[in-house]
């Protein structure tokens, strides 16, 4: 993916930051999860966050999204944030269409635009848009597609995705990484928490969370 002489894929590469996090400290009781962690993502860049179980990846992502407070440090987000949690943050007894309306209204989208955009996103992710099933009755992977579409609904500049492909079948999983390329090419900053090290060549940088520190970016070679 991309050589040292030029921007990968000839994409829109900017040095315009989408997210800057400095000096992040977070403890749960006596257990310090993050200790002076720093993290930056630019627009048009895809970054993978890796680390062992319990290393603090999800904590780091939630702090970056603004969903979790820090004990110390600052986070600057530029533009709208789309966040896809590991466990679907959806309402069990609503349909996909109702979720699209609800999240669209939250984002200030007119009803028609929310439906049009939402269904286009769901369709692109392989969600059966004619399905009027409640979220609780969807399969794990299908539910996760809804989860992911909701993160994208408001046209975010920064996408924070916490293992968003949970339950995806192989085709959907392959498509997901193709979507990451597309989102990045559109100038979004994409951050993916992942355990699947075989896919690290799909991103521009890898950040490892270890001992509470978000490690220096590791250049990805092909």
């Amino acid at each position: 993916m991309g050589g040292p002489d030029g921007p990968p894929y000839g994409r829109l590469m900017t040095n315009e930051p989408a997210l800057e996090a400095v000096g992040l400290v977070k403890s749960y009781g006596r257990h310090r999860v993050l200790d002076d962690a720093a993290f930056r993502v630019d627009r048009g860049e895809a970054v993978a966050i890796i680390g062992e179980n319990g290393a603090g990846k999800t904590t780091l992502l939630r702090i970056c999204a603004g969903l979790l407070s820090t004990d110390a440090g600052t986070v600057r987000r530029y533009g709208r944030v789309g966040y896809c949690p590991q466990e679907p943050g959806v309402v069990d007894l609503l349909t996909a269409e109702q979720h699209v309306r609800l999240f669209g209204a939250a984002a200030g989208l007119p009803r028609t635009e929310a439906r049009t955009t939402g269904f286009a996103l769901l369709d692109a992710l392989g969600f059966p848009t004619g399905d009027r099933a409640l979220a609780k009755d969807l399969s794990g992977g299908t539910r996760q597609k809804l989860n992911l579409a909701l993160a994208l609904l408001a046209d975010p500049t920064l996408l924070l995705l916490d293992e968003p492909y949970q339950g995806f079948d192989l085709g959907s999983y392959v498509d997901f990484w193709a979507h990451v390329d597309t989102w990045r090419d559109q100038g979004r900053a994409v951050v993916v928490v992942t355990h699947l090290l075989t896919e690290l060549d799909r991103v521009d940088r890898v950040v490892e969370v270890r001992d509470g520190v978000a490690g220096d970016p590791v250049a990805v070679t092909t």
Binding site: G66, A105, A106, A107
Partner: protein, 226 residues
């Protein structure tokens, strides 16, 4: 307009969510009836039991309304919905449901226990106040506790203690349901007091609980500034 639309969409979706919980909604209607009809019509305790049933049902609806959305609410806030709009939408919906329940249930009490009542409109007022106080009570519990089990136990404690502690004790007067119960006592001629004290207590309790519910809710869905 966007603010109003957001509030209404949240209320609509909350309503859809609650109405699809068929077992919950059945219990919502049957619980006050079960409490009330388990006491003979000739006993004035039936009024207390029926009103407590209303409180149980309404507060539980508020609590589950919040807890059922605990994963989605922060995401809605992140998507751009200000906290007060999500809260207001939920409050309006639960309040309408609560007053609807009273509209269905109060005539049954007024008819069956009519012989015990010296002032029927005041009895209806007492039931309505019970619903008005129980809505923010349920919302506050839902916003404060992490899970349904803890919330249910807290609700059992508050409603249970409220119905068992003698009304004239200081402890009873610190409980949120004292005001509506006092109004019902006046309606049944069980006390020399007036309704004013009970109404004032109920309204102050409702406002304090509303403040507590919103504060807790806001903490839960707050997005850290960047």
């Amino acid at each position: 307009m966007t603010a109003l639309r957001r509030t209404l969409v949240v209320a609509e979706m909350q309503g859809r969510d609650l109405l699809r919980r068929r077992a919950v909604m059945t219990l919502f209607v049957l619980l006050p009836a079960a409490f009330y009809y388990s006491v003979p019509a000739s006993e004035d305790y039936g009024l207390i039991a029926g009103s407590m049933g209303v409180s149980w049902a309404v507060a539980a609806a508020g609590m589950f309304g919040i807890l059922g959305w605990r994963r989605a609410d922060p995401r809605l806030a992140l998507a751009g919905a200000p906290a007060h709009q999500g809260f207001l939408g939920r409050l309006v919906l639960i309040l309408l449901l609560a007053l609807g329940l009273v509209a269905v249930f109060a005539p049954q009490i007024l008819w069956r226990s009519g012989a015990l009542l010296v002032d029927r409109p005041t009895a209806a007022l007492g039931l309505a106040l019970m619903a008005v106080v129980s809505v923010p009570l349920g919302l506050a519990i839902g916003a404060l506790v992490p899970r349904e089990l803890e919330g249910t136990l807290v609700l059992i404690g508050i409603v249970g203690v409220g119905s068992s502690v003698p009304m004239d004790t200081a402890v009873a007067q610190t409980l949120p349901l004292w005001g509506p119960l006092r109004v019902l006592q006046v309606a049944a001629g069980l006390t020399d007091g007036t309704t004013a004290g009970g109404v004032t207590h109920a309204l102050i309790s409702a406002l304090l609980l509303l403040g507590l519910a919103y504060w807790s809710w806001h903490r839960r869905v707050r997005i850290a500034r960047s």
